[in-house]
């Protein structure tokens, strides 16, 4: 089910077919420019494909924002091993719900993007790793893959052009950690989903220790439009070095939560006020998590920024996965920090000490603190423990838990202090968990 009605401010590139009847079917897709980008890409060399993606300014939509064309160019040309394309559909970042729509409403766009990625590096096999909780999407994806095989788009002779490309789905088993690329690969290979030591990166040694392109669903979905309209067109949609549009997932205390496709660099305050329909119940804005739970929170007065990777980074947060969580004046920031830490303590894989022990300690500490059993020294301790995790863990999960916590303590010290001395949570009555 779509979350929301399209908004006039949206620039619908990736999501333009969402509202078409039967948008999942290959017929609808073919009738609306479907597989035309692939047709074009089949006439290009590997260098030309990668150059086009570089020209588009597309940056990874999973959260890190790494330039996609550059990532693809890291795959060694000459490899004695087969190469693979891996789609990261393990969408689990709290606040993020865009990949499910991209698969549910336009699975063929993803397939097309994956095949083009295959052409770019000479891979003949792709996999879609779908989070276990998205079981129904596996059916959607499998049906689309079957259709593509039936039409000769996937298979030993892609569109009759003598190129081989095969695609299959793989189910995750319910671990946030498996959204981290190397843990995803471990899980895919049937092992415990622990992250791998990097380098080597997946481009060199990924799936089955072979060169692998691993990108987010949205990243692959952006590829067909790039070839349909040209890299320059896509780049022109966004801001410099931040090409294209982005599916922003607006949630929290706003009137019109939903997934909106907006150009990169769209102003956050406008996003809340105009696209999101303003604050629910006319309340005041207190804070925004701009890109999923792992991104440092922004105070209301910090929200007048362009939503692209570089501008949000300049505001000392991250654009992340596009999960914009809006919190109003009644939200308890201690509780928000606790809610996020509960998630990370639950999802820490247990591999490295700082993350494993740090998240659990912070969860217990924040729980006690929120219940009014905190001491002044605990406020320092919360920040200190987070800093002891930051940059010292094996994979980014530890940072993802530490960064928002540090920001909550630094930016809302007064709210932490308001919980001291056995006082009940000042937001108790109205405090409802934010939708993270």
């Amino acid at each position: 089910m779509l979350y929301n009605q399209p908004d006039p401010l949206e620039v619908k590139v990736l999501s333009r077919r969402f509202t078409l009847p039967n948008s999942q079917s290959i017929e609808t897709y073919l009738a609306n420019d479907g597989y035309k980008a692939l047709e074009k890409a089949l006439g290009l060399t590997q260098e030309q494909i990668i150059d086009e993606v570089k020209a588009s300014g597309l940056r990874g939509r999973g959260g890190a924002g790494f330039p996609t064309g550059l990532k693809w160019s890291f795959v060694p040309r000459q490899s004695p091993k087969p190469k693979y394309i891996m789609v990261n559909a393990d969408e689990s970042e709290p606040g993020t719900c865009k990949d499910r729509l991209l698969i549910e409403y336009d699975p063929h766009q993803l397939i097309e993007g994956v095949i083009i990625a295959g052409l770019a590096v000479g891979a003949q096999q792709g996999y879609v790793y779908i989070r276990g909780e998205y079981r129904y999407l596996i059916d959607v994806m499998d049906r689309a893959i079957d259709e593509a095989y039936a039409k000769g788009i996937l298979g030993d002779n892609v569109m009759g052009r003598g190129v081989k490309f095969h695609l299959a789905t793989h189910s995750g088993a319910g671990a946030y950690e498996c959204g981290e690329e190397s843990a995803l690969l471990e899980s895919f290979e049937g092992k415990r989903g622990n992250p791998r030591i990097r380098p080597p990166f997946p481009a060199v040694a990924g799936c089955y220790q072979s060169p692998t392109i691993l990108n987010n669903v949205e990243t692959f979905c952006a590829v067909p439009p790039i070839f349909l309209h040209g890299g320059a067109y896509f780049a022109g949609l966004g801001t410099p070095k931040n090409g294209g549009t982005r599916l922003f997932c607006l949630s929290g205390h706003i009137n019109k939560p939903g997934v909106y496709e907006l150009p990169m660099g769209f102003n956050l305050m406008r996003m809340i006020k105009e696209v999101g329909g303003g604050m629910r119940g006319g309340k005041k804005l207190k804070a925004v998590i701009p890109g999923g739970s792992s991104c440092p929170v922004l105070k209301a007065d910090e929200c007048d920024i362009a939503m692209d990777f570089d501008s949000v980074a300049a505001a000392k947060s991250m654009l992340g996965s596009g999960g914009v969580v809006v919190m109003d004046e009644d939200t308890c920031m201690v509780n928000a920090a606790l809610r996020i830490m509960k998630f990370y303590a639950h999802e820490s894989c247990g591999w490295c000490i700082p993350c494993r022990e740090g998240t659990t300690w912070l969860k217990k500490l924040l729980t006690r603190f929120h219940e009014g059993m905190g001491q002044r020294s605990d406020i320092v301790l919360i920040g200190d423990l987070s800093k002891n995790m930051l940059g010292r863990t094996f994979c980014p999960l530890g940072d993802a838990a530490a960064m928002p916590t540090i920001a909550f303590v630094e930016k809302f010290q007064d709210e932490f202090e308001a919980h001291l001395d056995g006082r009940p949570c000042p937001f108790e009555k109205s405090s409802r968990l934010v939708a993270v």
Partner: protein
Amino acid sequence: MADLVKFTIDGREIETAPGTLVIEAAKKNGIEIPSFCYYEGLTLQAACRMCLVEVEKMPKMQVACTLPVGPGMVVRTDTEQVRKARKSTLEFLLTNHPLDCPVCDKGGECELQDMVFRYGAGESRFTENKLHVDEQQWSPVVFYDGPRCILCFRCVRACEEGMGVAALGVINRGAMSLIAPNRGDHLECDECGQCIDICPVGALTSGAYRYQTRPWEMEHVGTICTHCSDGCKTTLGVRGDEIMRGNNRDRSGVNGEFLCAKGRYAYDFYNHAERIQTPMVRVGGKLEPVSWSKALELVARKFGEIRSRSGEFGVIGSNHTTNEENFYLQKFARNGLNTNNIDHHRTGDVVTLIDALSGTSGQLATTQDLYDKKAFLIIGTDLAMEHPFLSYQIRASFRHHAAHLYTITADKVREEDYAVRTIRRNAGDELGALEDLRANLAAEAELVIIFGDSVKGDAVRKLVEFGQSLGNAVKYCALVDYSNSRGAVDMGLTPELLPGYHPSGASGPSVKEMLASQTLEALWVVGANPLKSGPMASKKTFVVVQDMFLTETAQRADVVLPAASAYEKNGTVTNVCGEVQRLTRAVSAIGVKTDLEIIGLIAKEMGLAALVGPWVPDTVYGEIRKTVKGYNIPLAMLAVQAQQTAPVNGRVPVNSRPELIQSAHDGLFTSGTLGRYSKILHSVMESRESRSQQEEMAHS
């Protein structure tokens, strides 16, 4: 060799081989970078984050255990930031650690204690509730205390990578993560105990050792395991006259830190309740305890009588007694009792191998070769069960050097899991498959061929002929069963060979023939149990047995003399690869004497002491050095490390009597008489049997 890389660590400029990890380069230069999960020889984890160091031009601290040195790299291991990181990691580690050091077995030799002492904070800021799970028993010898576990995954890797068993894994997530055994609530594995040994804390503890002692109450005696022929060094923890544990944490000896279940636990026969501790003499059909002097007097008198009328003696030696005892025994038999009738249980055809290799040198494999070489042909043996250490070496070579393995066996063996080619042949028919492997084997630059007792006599010659025709560097290893099986042959415990493979020029009966003989007047058995397989033919023969237990043979004896175990004596033994090593006495048992002393006392009682010389191990070894080719190695050198003996480099023109060669094929939990009296080996086998019975009942 590639050029050395120059880098700077703590202000010191250091040169090291490219690819060296910072943590290793630091260690080689006397700089300690602390770590839990980094373990030499096992895969890298980078999980514990203790080894974080500062590297110039890198934005954040780096883990030294996965970072190779780079040219011009500047590393700092002793800055405020690094010290703080170490302290905070330890603070995190201790949050859910029970801190039950006062009762923990590991207390005093715990890496976590040491780390906290050196790098940590005595004070914790953690005031929440600790997580707790109950302790579990996974097998008679393995206990797991989850809260103590720091999740360094050493045990998981030691089991999977080192042993090739993969019986341990991780369950749950985050702080609830636990190590788990392969059968849900219990282990089914080799019970080698390496996981316990490698555990830096008291999470994995040994059923044989737990809550028995404190580490600082023990003396640590390095000696050689007395079970199979691999010759593993085992360091016995001794308190008073009690052996508390066996391990080899100092990595001395040929085996490094490797030990199997037998080496680690099965010393425990030494204080078995049925141990004989007083001489016994048959009186009126029953064995009655007597004093040593009475027993020795009786033996000397009987032996003297038989000797003076040139009656027929039979002497059976042991696969477990020391080289000195074996040498001394055959010397006394040949020169004192004037008999060539001396034999032992032969378990592998070393004699033919040495003969077939005459004129060559350096073609007998050492245990180190089994790690260093890059290709192995394994014939007719289940190496992982019968020779765990040799199997471990080859597995390590596969992991570290991508060694190629080829197997020709009757049944599935563990080596097949990573073999290039596997051929199934019945015992005795294995060599028929050789030509099939010729192309593969000839393509290898170097090769070690290891063969069991099914290859003997002419088959050994055929195998060597094949090996020498491959045109590459081939080494060989003829497997034998027990801790000094090889030494028994070297020391001339056969009628046809004198010490050092010199033909005796005379013939004599084999063990079997002695037992079948009706004319044998005296049978002297030193540390062997030949009657296990059946009774003696002659009822009249005067039988003298030296042993630790009342074995089938001892029960038939007229005089039983209680002997010391390998852990109660000094001397040397020679392993399957011909490496001679020193036994060091760890404990002493009341009432017993070493076989060397017993032989000497019998000689003395017979007035023949001058013939055999003093029964002092070092003196006898001195004589061995002079007499036995290849053994001219100073004891001082043996004290440092094992030395391979280099036997005769010429023909051994005798019939090796292949029909007598028969391995007992002892597995992981059996070991002849010694295994029968090991409580731990029994408990392991019993727990397996009762489990399989329970499972059968559950299925029926």
